[in-house]
């Protein structure tokens, strides 16, 4: 009898250990980093690296595959957005040129909230970031500053948004930028989640979602957004694997309105490297994906398997 009980106890961790052993292995491999690493921040989710090459400082989540830069900042010109997708996010301003309550899911280096705060100092900006370590890195290495008008919450964005819906909070500019490229938070791609986002959007508010344009997931995701918001603007740029979805509760503005809104923004956005005048022509609503693909729901959301 004794032997049986001892055996029994020793077998327990095996069953459960399966889940985390892969994660541990993955974090061991991230130890191989190139020489120009400025800083390494430990986190419960992943190790975060800050590198600097040639005056360009970058935040990396996955140092093995070196191309996975989350955010980069040109230290000689810190204002300028280095990546296409960050520039493309500003296209949301063409739909709502005067945001007052901004919600950003996913901090990265904090370049987006910093820029929006400079552009709209009176707007209240709330940033949701699941990982405290990312907040630390953004503050210490990317000049991200919290203030009365820029507030960060260390929280899972879905949890925050669900609660915001229950308490009747509204935002007129919502940015979903929570995709690292290596792991997709599957509960933030579903129809139910987007319904919750729609609920906290003001009637004139705009949702800007920075996602992918490659893989099978593209069609599934597009169908899911269409199921919730109807037509949306699909912004793509050549040379970028990202696409930006721009959606609204009410009917989308016309090309004329977009172009009219672009004019006054042109000069202000120039220092950020954003050529806003180029965007209206690239903002199409015509589906260019397989429209028979299944809508993603809380019951069915194998985003990481589809995104391969």
């Amino acid at each position: 009898m004794k032997t049986k009980q001892t055996l029994h106890r020793s077998i327990n961790p095996w069953r459960q250990g399966l889940l985390f052993s892969l994660l541990t292995l993955a974090s061991l491999f991230t130890g191989l980093v190139t020489a120009e690493t400025l800083h390494e921040e430990r986190s419960v989710y992943r190790n975060i690296f800050v590198t600097e090459v040639d005056g360009r400082r970058c935040l990396l989540f996955n140092a093995v595959r070196g191309e996975r830069n989350q955010t980069c900042m040109d230290m000689r010109n810190p204002k300028e957005f280095v990546f296409h997708y960050a520039r493309m996010t500003m296209a949301g301003l063409l739909v709502n040129p005067d945001p007052k309550n901004i919600l950003i899911a996913g901090l990265g280096g904090g370049t987006l909230p910093s820029a929006l705060h400079e552009l709209y100092p009176d707007a209240k900006i709330e940033v949701l970031e699941i990982d405290q370590a990312v907040v630390n890195v953004a503050k210490n290495f990317f000049n991200f500053q919290e203030s009365e008008s820029v507030e960060t919450h260390v929280v899972d964005a879905r949890v925050f948004i669900k609660r915001a819906g229950l308490t009747g909070r509204k935002f007129d500019f919502i940015v979903l930028d929570a995709f690292t490229g290596e792991y997709i938070p599957e509960h933030m791609l579903t129809q139910e989640f987007l319904e919750e986002v729609k609920q906290i959007l003001t009637p004139d508010g705009v949702l800007v979602s920075n996602t992918f344009s490659t893989s099978e997931l593209y069609a599934h995701e597009s169908e899911t957004y269409r199921a919730v918001f109807g037509d949306f603007f699909n912004l793509k740029m050549s040379g970028s694997g990202n696409r930006v979805i721009i959606a609204q509760q009410k009917e989308l503005p016309s090309q004329g309105t977009l172009k009219a809104n672009a004019q006054p923004l042109h000069e202000t956005l120039k220092p950020y490297g954003v050529e806003i005048l180029e965007f209206p022509n690239r903002m199409g609503t015509r589906p260019d994906w397989d429209q028979t693909k299944r809508v993603l729901t809380d019951q069915f959301s194998p985003a990481n398997l589809l995104g391969r």
Binding site: L19, D156, R163
Partner: protein, 216 residues
């Protein structure tokens, strides 16, 4: 059917049932992350809550299952574990949303929210699934000297089942089916295991010359 062939059939059924039990436990555990994520997110502590509750339920199940097995072990009770596991898994399909909404509304901290929700949804069914392991060893063991071997075999099949359950669920099931469909599959597997044990248990035994018929 002779007594010997019935016994060996029963042994095989018990081993298969232990395999499927291990499979189903990990299927339900992996789906747990998806069930909880719309309410509590996918922060590391949500997985922490789920794994904690599964470990706790299994450990108590092992303890109670072991105790029950020392008093008149029967195949009927063993089959009942499977039936109860299946029955107690049904609230995960029917009442998960309601339960999690109530928890979400009362508990603001998603750490404790996910811990409470995981307890409410998974404690009872996983407890009964844990009881299967020691009880099946008791049913398989007929003499002291091969008890270790039987225990080894049981751990082997049930942990192998868990490994496959993890793999199949995370690689394929979530891609092919909805969560509730997979849960129904798990319930069906548990019910069928229980029924198979009962059927084999009730099989009539032909009296062989010189061997007295007895009930085991």
């Amino acid at each position: 059917m002779t007594v010997t062939s019935k016994n060996s059939l029963m042994q095989n059924v018990i081993v298969c049932a232990a395999f499927l039990n291990g499979f189903v436990i990990m299927t339900i555990e992996l789906l747990g992350g998806r069930v909880l994520s719309p309410y509590f997110g996918t922060s590391v502590y949500v997985w922490g809550s789920i794994i904690t509750i599964f470990m706790l339920s299994l450990s108590l199940g092992y303890l109670w299952g072991g105790r029950l097995s020392s008093r008149k072990p029967s195949h009927g009770v063993f089959a009942a574990f499977f039936g109860l596991s299946a029955l107690l898994s049904l609230p995960i399909i029917f009442f998960a949303e309601w339960t999690m909404t109530q928890v979400f509304l009362t508990v603001e901290d998603p750490r404790y929210g996910s811990l409470i929700a995981a307890t409410l949804l998974y404690f009872l069914p996983i407890c009964f699934m844990g009881m299967v392991s020691p009880y099946s060893i008791r049913l398989l063991v007929s003499s002291e000297e091969h008890s270790g071997r039987m225990a080894g075999l049981l751990y082997f099949v049930s942990t192998l089942g868990s490994a496959l359950g993890t793999l199949m669920t995370s690689f394929y099931f979530v891609l092919w089916f909805e969560i509730d469909t997979i849960m129904w599959g798990a319930v069906a597997v548990l019910v069928l295991s229980g029924v198979a044990i009962l059927i084999v248990h009730k099989l009539p035994v032909r009296e062989a010359a010189g061997v007295h018929r007895y009930e085991n």
